[in-house]
Amino acid sequence: MDRKLLLEHVGVEGINTHDVYRKHGGYKAVEKALKSMSPDDIVEEVKKSGLRGRGGAGFPTGMKWSFIAKPEGVPRHLLCNADESEPGTFKDRYLMEKIPHLLIEGMILSSYALGCNQSYIYIRGEYMYVLQILEKAIAEAYANGWLGKNIKGSGFDLDLAVSTGAGAYICGEETALIESLEGKRGNPRIKPPFPAVKGLWDRPTVVNNVETIAAVVPIVNEGGDAYAQIGIGRSTGTKLISASGNVNNPGVYEITLGLSVEEFIYSDKYLGGIKNGKKLKACVPGGSSVPILPHYLVCKTAAGEDRLMTYESLADGGFATGSMLGSGGFIVYDEDQCIVRNTWNFSRFYHHESCGQCSPCREGTGWMEKVLHRLEYGHGKMEDIDLLWDIQRKIEGNTICPLGDAAAWPVAAAIRHFREEFEWHVKEPKLCMTKNYGLVTEKTFETVNG
């Protein structure tokens, strides 16, 4: 159950350097591809593998690649989305930091498959130290002939560079990322045209997540069919999960898709159970934007089946009783955590990160933050709960990009599963405030209400 395809060699001394990476089978996939595979062969293998976008949307990668327009004489671009910013997610950072050449190798393979000769890794500005690791690795790759003109005598040219963001969650949305890489504000574009037709500098462009691109390496090495053998159903291969919250062993795990959620949370091999012997209260399995699951829907679906770490099983029951695998940002809450406070915190995040283009998101995220704040700080009214529900419904689906949905879903799910806790915040505000981590004292409560 635990084949490691991406992180197998993490832990090997010096694996972040070219020579050690090479000694452990690094760049073999590039050698193989350039010698014996056409670009279309690679696209075919990726299609066969069933690989789905690892950034959160889960769209089949091979299909996304096949959409790229190929007008004569117009350069195409591959962009790696390393703008990892979804709360709860820190896997791409881990991969890039520990084994940067795996991403570079994946970029070479994917660029070759798409016919791109100039590719970029767009990394969030806060990951400045990771950017430096990548630039060092890229310099090594150039020095060893894996990048540049006529790579290993194949006739294929590729230039690869890293560019930086500067603090904007929205730039993880692919068209905002493109805008940002053009040196502009990260305002998402209206689609169509899709990036596959008009992307960076109006040229055909593919944007893929770090982990997705890295996964192309084992797919080329072992073949798409072999990759598709791993996992369950349409959830093939392995997935990096970033685990955080009240668990004994938070961190990044490469799991085989299909692992049971129960084993993931409670086995010592993974999260080692809830910290301090407390009970599980809730779990956000795929980054802050996916619906929160109450404890009774975490390890089992509403139908009573074992919940698995797959795209399908985590979504089982739809939004009524399910959630999403998303980015794999797995946040665990123990019995002491306050759902209202957590929802307010996430709403503040989305309000802060809204680019401001679409009124429902720009205004709605702010309203949700305010209403949740007053519920959390003891000024809430019962009708606020329905008001919140109404606001989130009016944001969802009414914006240019999915940030609006991402802001709406956590609020909807929190009310859906924890309505009583919201009501309790209205009835017994004082109790709740002192309970919240002991942060708010009697005195500040009076001040707030003053």
Binding site: P87, D92, G125, M128, G165, R185, G186, S242, F349
Partner: protein, 177 residues
């Protein structure tokens, strides 16, 4: 800072050229975010004259620089301390005690979120998710991540940066002239 004094030293000009060279000819605007990071590190913050200088370097209109500098949360268009202590406040960090860490720093430095110490060394800022959720609570000081924070660790960090504020930059030794 008067207009004439705003000038990158040679190594930084070379770095600007390297950033521009990452992009095809005529697409130097793509280097804007990187060059703004350099300018902020070097000049302390992005004042209007600094932004105008960046515009001249990249052959852009000043407004093209202003609109970017005001969009991204990492850029400061007002003066800040030499070391920005940016504490992550989002979900996973919150449940691991980020609010207590913020309160501790506020008390220790005698400033509130968003303020700068009188000696001009520290600015405290709460920020949104920095991608360190499994190692919470955490803060970023300049370009460096500090994770698994405790009050003792915060004491140590503040001591260390007070002695050597430039230690919050990773490379390009001439940052923060």
């Amino acid at each position: 800072m008067s207009q004439e004094n705003i000038q990158f030293p040679e190594p930084l000009l070379q770095e600007v050229a390297r950033q521009i060279a990452k992009f095809p000819e005529g697409k130097q605007k793509s280097a804007l975010l990187s060059v703004l990071h350099l300018a902020q590190a070097h000049f302390g913050y992005l004042s209007e004259p600094v932004m105008d200088y960046v515009a001249r370097l990249l052959h852009l209109l000043p407004i093209e620089v202003y609109e970017v500098a005001t969009f991204y949360s990492m850029y400061d268009t007002k003066p800040v301390g030499k070391v920005k202590l940016e504490v992550c406040r989002t979900g996973p960090c919150m449940i691991e005690g980020a609010e207590k860490i913020v309160a501790y720093i506020e008390n220790k430095l005698g400033i509130k979120d968003g303020e700068t110490t009188a000696d001009g060394i520290f600015t405290l800022k709460t920020v949104e998710c920095l991608g360190a959720c499994g190692y919470a609570p955490m803060l970023q000081a300049g370009e460096k991540f500090h994770e698994h924070l405790t009050e003792a660790k915060v004491d140590e960090l503040i001591e260390q940066y007070r002695k050597n504020p430039n230690a919050n930059y990773l490379g390009l030794e001439n940052h923060g002239s």
